[in-house]
Assembly symmetry: C2
Homo-oligomer: 228 residues x 2
DNA sequence: ATTCCGACTTAGTTGAGACTAACTTTCAAC
DNA sequence: GTTGAAAGTTAGTCTCAACTAAGTCGGAAT
């Protein structure tokens, strides 16, 4: 009902979130990468990057043909949206009984709309959680992002014992597939072998009889820490 | 993140909701009334009414200079949004610990965005509630709106004993004021007297020592049923 | 019957945020 | 060094939903 203009729009939030994720590792995000992540045209991205850079205070440092990074302000805003997103995922999973693969899309819609009061309510209800259902760390109330030293499952060798920490949450079909194989955050895994031919990993998963075989593209999206 | 186009937009939802509320009682809603309710210009309303009438299926029956009513489809949609709104208010109040006057604005933002799955989760969590914290009936899953035979407190006479059923929820300041006087849904009230001079009502409220005096504009926004 | 006011409509504009089409820059391969 | 593709930018357009300004309509009071 209330036609209250938000300080930053849904679209702006989405751009900042994408840039945040894309600039983990690489220094600057390219127009192309952002366009692909948001499934919009490159031209639209160029236009928006100019706006983000022209805001007061500026949300990004944008240089033509060199890409963007977030400014301090842009990063704060991105982390705030990510905090909302991950708190919501945790809530949907724990309180509303959503399955693992359903939480992402709903959280994407709600994250732009909830107030500080709502966030506070969730924190209290959920007991100040530190990780969402996929194992991603939830930025704290000062928007400091916890790090969990992890590596991709695909980088392991036979004999390694690890615990699943986090799974890339973008792809609902993948999540459903992995849930079927019991590859969930918290599960322990023993790497049995790796094929020299196709790179497939053969795994023993705790609480699951028989072995699980995963292709390298999938193993790259599962993050683990060493067990013990 | 996902740029999924909703079937009806936030703006459309708000128009349908307004028209629904305005056409309780009066037959057709006028452009002026809708403009005031949504705090936008008359011209904007005229433009949107044309669009709503041109939709497939049409959401309203609009006749120039005669006003609008909802069609069956428009009413279904309005009731769906109202169901979302009132379920959310109940959730915010009961589960997240919001106060009486905080729930409306937050629900107004969330109501457009939650999925059927979310609605279902709320219903299960809250035990299929029939009324929101202000006493308004929540449309059921078939979108049938329960009626509670009530009359405005302002229509009562000295000696009447009533129970507060519902309070107009639009005005957060009013809600805070009434909460301070313990005029809440469920409270019993005895009407002590009414002033011939200014129409003020003098009341005895259950669980509250001393009497409460309310002006007629306020009493018009409090709905009650007879006690016993 | 005229007048006047308020409700309503029309016409034209704006700003967000998307799009396509066409041009430029960069860079790797030859 | 030229060339060709991929990445990036510019220019112009579209839709949505708001706006203002300038009319029109209709009913009540004179």
């Amino acid at each position: 009902m209330e036609r209250t203009a938000e300080h930053t729009s849904t679209a702006v939030d989405d751009y900042l979130k994408s840039i945040f994720h894309l600039t983990r590792g690489s220094v600057r995000a390219g127009t192309r990468d952002i366009a692909d992540a948001l499934r919009i045209s490159q031209a639209s991205v160029t236009a928006m990057l100019k706006k983000l850079a022209a805001m007061e205070p500026p949300m990004v440092d944008y240089r033509k043909r060199e890409g963007v990074v977030l400014t301090k302000h842009g990063e704060k805003r991105a982390l705030s949206v990510i905090r909302h997103h991950r708190l919501l995922e945790t809530f949907l999973y724990q309180t509303l009984g959503y399955s693992w693969d359903e939480v992402h899309d709903e959280a994407c819609r709600l994250e732009h709309v909830i107030s500080d009061r709502f966030e506070e309510g969730l924190v209290k209800l959920l007991g100040n959680p530190t990780h969402d259902p996929h194992g991603d760390p939830i930025p704290d109330h000062k928007l400091r992002l916890g790090r969990t030293a992890t590596e991709a499952l695909s980088a392991l060798h036979p004999g390694d014992r690890v615990v699943v920490e986090r799974v890339d949450d973008k792809d609902a079909e993948l999540l459903r597939y992995l849930a079927g194989k019991s590859v969930l955050p918290g599960r322990r895994i023993l790497v049995l072998s790796r094929s020299n031919f196709d790179g497939n990993l053969s795994l023993q998963v705790s609480g699951c009889r028989g072995k699980v075989v995963l292709g390298p593209e999938i193993a790259e999206r599962i993050f683990v820490r060493l067990d013990r």
